[in-house]
Amino acid sequence: MLEIIFGKQLSMISAGFLIFCALIVFFYRIAPGRLRTAVLCAANLGFMYLAGGREGMLLLVLSLLAGYTGCLVVESTRGWMKTVWFAIFLTGIFALLALCRYVPFFLAQGGLQVPVWLPEVPGISFYTLTIAACLIQVYWGGMRAERSVVRFTAFAGFFPTLSSGPVMDPPSMLRQFRLAARPDYNHITSGAQRILWGFFKKLVISERLAVLVNAVYGDYHTYSGWYILMATGAFALQLYTDFSGCMDIACGAGEMLGFTLPENFDLPFLAETESELWRRWHITLGEWFKNYVMYPLLKSPALLKVRELSISRFGKRKGKQIPPRIAMLVLWFLIGFWHGGGLKFIIGSGLLHACLMILGQLLEPAAHRINVMLHVTEGGTLNRWFRRARTFLCLCSGFVFFRADTFRDALGLYRGMFSGNRALFSAEGYLALGLDGKDSVILVLSLFLLFALERLHRKASVRSRVSALSLPVRWTLYLAMFLCVAVFGMYGPGYQASAFIYAKF
């Protein structure tokens, strides 16, 4: 019966996860102060066992032990030995990531068989970053090493974040886990509401968009031209609702346990520049790479030397801009590599965006001159929406690579965009994608609801507004949302609610 409820692999988008979460919240709530951390620790390991099997749990334990031991050792040593131990433990932590994610990839690329004992572990890319951040912070002296292995496991392996993040910043987050405050009624209900919203985004919106996207990207020779353009835009929405839905579930589960997890999205489609976009999309990943890669790189002797040479060659104004741009290229190369070892990720999720950002910076003076010439009011509504549309197109340009099966397919998709195929605009041409009229209506209405609520949320929390309403109205809204997910959600036989896209990382 447990396997029927939890499945062979526990997924966050399942009834099994809700039951698991409810049980953990219950035991966490009733446990006395000292035992609460132990409950969390057990929950984390239990979740990884259900989600990733024995291998997944073992890898998590190894990573946690490497991080925990590394922090203690690094903190207790001085001088060059401190650096040596730091390098050893950091390498060990990332070696586990490389073993599970990159070794199989490169073996497959080389036509070699991937050994069966190499497990596919969900979310390893995420908790590895959190554990590495702990070690780096201790090395820098930014925080004290956590003495309790139970508390370290409770924090670094926090189960809502194991699947797709958010990547946690140790100095601020660990404080919450040290307090381990008992969640109150408001935490639990508010968290539950957020989880429900996450399920709505994932099952009602994201999975419907996936039907359109999969049809086009699965056969782009047939579905070329406007199909590709539509599908790429749809994929941007699909990825957003999928990933942010997962974050809602993770943050909601964290909230039910009394923890406030960092946000990973801040209305990214309102971004007016590429730089702003990446401050609003997958925020915690950007922050991690900025804090632990970009800044150390900028302060590194190599880049300081480059800065000196650039200034002497190109002058102070232009010379100063070169090292940050080099650092940005390195940073985005690594971000692309983190998504996957393949060229499509390195380009589509990495270098392409770096180039667009650099281009944006270089062309900004020219753009300003054009605006002045055309009497365009910078900051005006029209101008802002133009910039948002432009930023959205830049985002989509990378998503073609992200979604395509291979780099070559991505190039084929780009070529196919200009085929002039307009069949999408006929009823038959649209319906051929597999989403019928009724499903399309639900999709449009739910997207409208999503954007309306996000717009409202900019001014004040929607959950707070709803809780201020009378009980019958509140309950009607909650129950309506619940039934929407239950009835209109794309799950069950015939549908394979795809595992969260980012859980593959």
């Binding site: 499945g7 009624y185 909650y478 009835v487």
Partner: protein, 459 residues
């Protein structure tokens, strides 16, 4: 001094503010828990209602009424695949022998599926006799078309037995889930819902046939497929998984004081089917249970006219004969009491009235002559058929008309032209050009003479 202690007070003195504060806190806390419980309960009830609306109603139509009848109200329960479903009419057996029964057979049901149906049904309704049609016992797989199994199983309530059944039959977790929680499968039906889906939640459709399915069509057999297998010539192989479940059925019957009977209904099957059926002679002898292999009962059915759609299932004429045959056997062998006229079984007289009424409706709605005639069998009606001079019915229909005549159900005469009958419905065969009708049939109640149906048919 006040002996009543208050919170935080050691002296036992009253602290009204504390009492008031503590009381309010307790009240607030309790209020919150009660609100939460009320919300969860409301959500669960709403989900239950929505689930009932979304679920496909075929299962409710087939099995829903099974649970409405009082516990242990069936003398006999019939299990098996679709051959049993179409082949045995419990209400016919009631009419003829006063034996109560329910047809629990299922489309494409393997022996393991039948076994688990039996286990679930006897939890609430324990019959005196359980009859199992052993078709496909030679097959080695546990199931072959489980989509249609939903039609039988969805209505069965969630229980430990259902969990065991699902886990035994299906190794795939997703399939287990869809059988234990049908909403997981049917929530997609929101696109097909009509007002009827909601109405049927409150007013389920009654299955007046006690689970059976009455088919009025006639299809000629494909004699090229006729395998001439001598009686008792079995497969000669060891027990298949389906035979293992037949044995489990027999043992469980005995453990529950139920008499097991194995049958194989008339069927023009391939060699493997007939040899498989013959192999059950060995099993029956080993287990000491009766086995009726009706393939070798000469003259029991007419293979030309007693089957619908490619001689797979018995039609009304054939099922009536087989039901009479089986009913006689049950009455003679197991000394089952004849409950007709028994005040304790008055409710069954009412069921019979609805059953006959349904047959009348089917005759009135019959789209072809052969269907109309077929529904004479097992009904309380007779009919008069006028055939326009020169019209010649096709072979299977001719045989059926002759059977009905010989059974005293039909009077046939050839006419130059029909006597006008304003109550008759003019029918044309689907896909054919409307022309002059060639047949005029009038169906009336045998006892009262009341008109039941009247049709003109082009062919």
């Amino acid at each position: 001094m006040n002996s009543r202690r208050t919170i935080g007070s050691r002296s036992g003195n009253h602290h009204p503010e504390l009492i008031l504060t503590f009381g309010m806190q307790m009240s607030l806390k309790t209020k919150k828990y009660m609100k939460t419980a009320a919300f969860v309960l409301t959500a669960a009830l709403l989900l239950q209602f929505v689930s009932a609306v979304c679920i496909d109603k075929q299962s409710q139509e087939r099995m829903g009424y099974f649970y409405r009848y009082p516990e242990d109200s069936y003398d006999v329960m019939y299990f098996g695949p679709s051959h049993m479903l179409f082949g045995i009419y419990p209400m016919r057996i009631w009419e003829q022998y006063g034996i109560t029964g329910y047809n629990c057979a299922g489309y494409d049901a393997s022996m393991p599926i039948c076994y688990w149906m039996f286990r679930q049904m006897i939890k609430t309704h324990r019959p005196k006799v359980a009859v199992l049609d052993v078709l496909n016992s030679e097959r080695v797989d546990k199931w072959w078309d489980v989509q249609v199994t939903h039609i039988t199983w969805d209505r069965i309530p969630f229980s430990r037995t259902k969990v065991w059944a699902v886990r035994d039959l299906f190794s795939d977790i997703a399939m287990q889930r869809e059988y234990l929680f049908p909403f997981y499968l049917y929530h997609n039906r929101w696109k097909e819902l009509t007002a009827q889906d909601v109405i049927r939640v409150f007013r389920p459709v009654e299955n007046v046939d006690m689970g059976a399915v009455a088919d009025g069509r006639v299809a000629p057999p494909d004699y090229e497929e006729d395998a001439d297998v001598p009686q008792y010539q079995g497969t000669g192989s060891e027990d298949t998984v389906n035979i293992e479940y037949i044995r489990r059925f027999i043992h469980d019957c005995r453990e529950n004081d139920i008499q097991p009977v194995l049958v194989f209904l008339p069927y023009m099957g391939v060699k493997e089917n007939l040899e498989g059926a013959n192999e059950i002679y060995r099993v029956a002898e080993e287990e000491g249970v009766p086995y009726l292999n009706m393939v070798y009962e000469d003259g029991l059915v007419d293979y030309d006219s007693d089957f619908s759609e490619a001689t797979v299932h018995l039609n009304v004429a054939g099922a009536t004969k087989v039901s009479d045959y089986l009913g006689q056997y049950l009455a003679d062998t197991f000394a089952l009491e004849d409950h007709r006229g028994d005040p304790a079984y008055q409710q069954w007289e009412e069921y019979d009235r609805r059953y006959r009424s349904a047959f009348n409706e089917r005759a009135a709605d019959a789209g072809t002559l052969v269907q109309c005639v077929n529904f004479l069998f097992g009904s309380a009606n007779t009919a008069e058929l006028e055939i326009r001079k020169g019209a010649v019915p096709e072979q299977p229909e001719q045989k059926l008309l002759k059977e009905a005549e010989e059974a005293g159900l039909l009077r046939v005469r050839e006419v130059e032209q029909f006597s006008p009958d304003p109550d008759c419905v003019a029918e044309t065969a689907e896909g054919k050009e409307a022309g002059l009708p060639e047949y005029h049939i009038t169906v009336r109640d045998k006892d009262t003479g009341q008109l039941v149906a009247g049709h003109y048919y082009a062919e």
